[in-house]
Symmetry: C2
Subunit: 241 residues, 2 copies
């Protein structure tokens, strides 16, 4: 039995009851070491299998091996396990096995939703998620999505916006979106959603400071109706108030 568990953006309080129950019910916990640390209090006395970034496939293969021994295993992802998380990988690996291993995906609060709650209400209308990581997606595909999403006037949430190895991706993305997003479009930025060092700011599209963004930052670009009110970013749903 494998539970693929989204633990929410980072604080215990954003875990669902179902996620906590699944972790408590498991004998072995598999995850990236940063996430394992976030759930320490629930996993005393359990077998822990943790490793570093970019070792997702190894980690999931280990989870499958443990489950084949008859163990109940929880594979943990931050946010939601089905959004750039481990759910797909586990299901793909399981489909190659002869044995019938049960998998249950436990939904969680993804980073965009956590960041939105901190910023006010920026994703109240149609929005999209785009990851700026080109490790597994050709950059041309990412560019095309950025351009069409901006043209469609979606609120745009950027995952993996900027890393040391890809410091130019975010500014390139803004250049592409700038064909359709006006300079006064509100942008909300939240670093380390739900964690101790959480930070947020709102600015406009033309005044965006890319240097303030790293891999654990969520960047949300508004649509044509989005406005800033004090420290809040609000995208109206359309009610007359």
């Amino acid at each position: 039995m494998i539970y693929v568990v989204g633990i929410g953006p980072g604080s215990k309080d954003t875990m669902t009851l179902e996620a906590i129950k699944a972790i408590e019910d498991s004998e072995a916990i598999v995850g990236y070491k940063t996430y394992i640390k976030l759930i320490e209090e629930f996993i005393q006395d359990k077998e822990i299998i943790q490793n570093g970034m970019r070792q997702e496939v190894d980690r999931c293969k280990q989870a499958v091996e443990e489950a084949k021994k008859g163990k109940k295993v929880a594979v943990v992802s931050s946010g939601d396990a089905g959004i750039y998380g481990m759910a797909g990988l586990i299901l793909e690996l399981i489909s190659k096995e002869d044995e019938d291993i049960k998998v249950k995906v436990i939904p969680g609060v993804t980073a965009s939703i956590g960041a939105a709650a901190i910023l006010g209400a920026p994703i109240m209308h149609d929005f999209c998620h785009i990851s700026l990581s080109d490790l597994m997606t050709p950059w041309e595909v990412i560019e095309k999505r950025l351009r069409l999403a901006a043209e469609a006037d979606f609120v745009i949430c950027l995952y993996n916006p900027r890393s040391k190895g890809r410091s130019e991706h975010l500014s390139k993305a803004f250049k592409i979106m700038g064909e359709f997003k006006g300079g006064d479009t509100p942008v909300g930025v939240v670093k380390d959603v739900g964690r101790e060092k959480e930070e947020k700011f709102v600015c406009t599209f033309e005044n965006m400071d890319f240097e303030k963004v790293d891999m654990t930052t969520m960047v949300i670009i508004g649509n044509k109706s989005t406005y800033i009110n004090g420290e809040l970013m609000i995208t109206p749903r359309g009610y007359t108030v």
Copy 2:
């Protein structure tokens, strides 16, 4: 003090700890009657202000009035309060008040994430949300977003896909997306996510049965890599397995 609380797609288990705490901390609970029923066990002995559909503005105004009396009020939405929910409306109303009323938005698991967990892993890559309700959004805007989202090869999650008064919206939407989505594109459908009468099926774009869809159904259309494996719908993230 107003908490704007997303209670998750429908079962108690998909509520976060923070959502439960906010509801328990509140003296008055405001919400659409169907959602009030879902959280019955947490709101014994509290003042309940509930009303029907399309009365969102009245409901939120009442919440603000109660908060102005000094009460702690929880405004509940199903799913996440910041996604087609009540967060924006409450913040817009508060901004018109002279008094300083504190608002805290509590994030929740939205319907697309809940439905995705039941279907397998369909939103593992870039995706968007589009509401097919034209009550507050011009239909031309919805059409444009559908066309560009399909061209961008997003996984597309449709909210409010079909109601009695708008029975043709979903088939019209499929016609528009069909310019870019192939007939064999997987489609996942989940009715009443997380509730007792939950139902799901997967099919292909060309074989979609619109009659099976109503207002409380989530429809997820895959991207060019999405595949069906048994009863599961999987969009690979791109790992080599």
